[in-house]
């Protein structure tokens, strides 16, 4: 199992976002919802970083034409279009199945950088990508 927010985990998270969702999960929501996400992803050419505040670890995903092309690890907030960060306790809950959208709505994740409206124009790309990441097995620090 990869260490949480390591190079190996970042690479697996990138693949998970690109291959999301599987058929079983897809069927739990209307096709219109996934169409919306596909369209929103396709027009996003920029970068989205997620971070664990108390570990000072960030992974920046670069999106190009609907696909995540790179996942880069850094130990300070990167210069990305959007930086969404939460503390380790929040990530731990999300990795255990806590609803990613709820973590956003309750501001357990905060948008440390980026325009709020641009972020919400594609909100479900980001919440579903958090769900995708949460399915990547990871070794979390004690």
């Amino acid at each position: 199992m990869a260490e949480f927010f390591s190079e190996a985990w970042a690479a697996e998270a990138k693949d998970a976002i690109n291959n999301f969702p599987d058929d079983t999960y897809r069927e739990t929501k209307l096709f219109m919802y996934w169409d919306w996400i596909t369209a929103a992803k396709k027009t996003f050419n920029g970068s989205w970083a997620v971070g664990v505040r108390d570990l000072n670890r960030y992974v920046t995903f670069t999106f190009s034409d609907g696909v995540v092309t790179t996942a880069e690890l850094s130990d300070e907030p990167p210069d990305a279009s959007f930086v969404l960060a939460g503390d380790l306790a929040t990530w731990r809950d999300v990795m255990d199945g806590y609803d990613a959208g709820k973590a956003v709505m309750y501001r357990r994740f905060r948008l440390d950088k980026g325009d709020v409206f641009r972020f919400f124009n594609r909100i479900y790309v980001f919440t579903e990508s958090l769900v995708a990441m949460s399915k990547v097995p990871a070794d979390l620090p004690a």
Binding site: K29, L30, M32, Y33, W36, I37, D99, G101, K102, V104, M105, Y106, R107, R110, L111, V116, F117, F119, F120, N121, I123, Y124, T127
Partner: protein, 318 residues
Amino acid sequence: MAKTVEDFQIVEDTDLEGIGKVHIDEVIEYVHTFKKLPAPLDLYARYLKQRWNVYDLDFTQDAVDWHEKMTEDERQAFIDISSGFHHGERQVEVDLVPFMMAGTEDEKIFVSSQIEDEARHTVFFDRFYKEVVGVPGETIMDVLDHSYQWLTETFVGPFGLLAYLADDLRQNPDDPHRRVKYSTLYHLWIEGVLALVVMKVTLGFGRDRGFLPAYYTGFTATCRDEARHVQFGMKFLYDSLKRDPSHQKDVLQVLQTIFNMGGAVSKVANTEPLGFDILQLRELMVGQLYRKLGIIGVELPKEMSQQLQSLEPVIAGG
């Protein structure tokens, strides 16, 4: 003939018991009936007169109706819709705080009363879920956590946007553009459009069937509270736009994002068992939106009015 302020004297003056006898459509009309938009302190005085005690409601008959008279489909539809309010009220309660950090002192006095209203609305749903639906929980959050399962994922769009705009406002509470954007989402869209329309669904059902009397009473009183909130917001937006017409852009930016998010639908809205279909609701929402835009004097560009015709609104309110 258009109704006047005098036609709504009963809605204006009645107590909690009396409001339970008023038709919801009357209360929705009451929101839009004023000689001129009231000043914040007038609305504060009205708050003191209209404030109701959420613990005066007795849900005994509601629990009987719920378990013995309503069908499983009706219960599920009711729960799906109420959960959007249960969480909506909580969100508008906590996210209103940064708006009170700036504005005039008169506005702050009014906003303090609105925070109390929204807290009371949250407690109203907490009691309904615990005492009627039978949801377990010791704390307000226990019950919210339980009812979260009935929300759709697209609830996070408008209400997450509100949470993040509140956070943004907290860092720059005096910025007039941020305040107008926030108020457009909060007062105009969530309260003035979503809430007023969706309230009709469960209240219309309760009234037509003679079910859930305490719910009907408390939620109709909630709707009367919304009249003060919406009128406050319309005055704030109207005055802001008059002072600086460039705020028009702020209003449209918010609506554009709402319309964009409104294209994402993850579940079919479950309103039909209660007698409403989504087309009816969309039409009501479009009507409410144009009414509010008319009051503040903002026109939608053509592309946006077209987009509005295919909007799938979130079934929620606050």
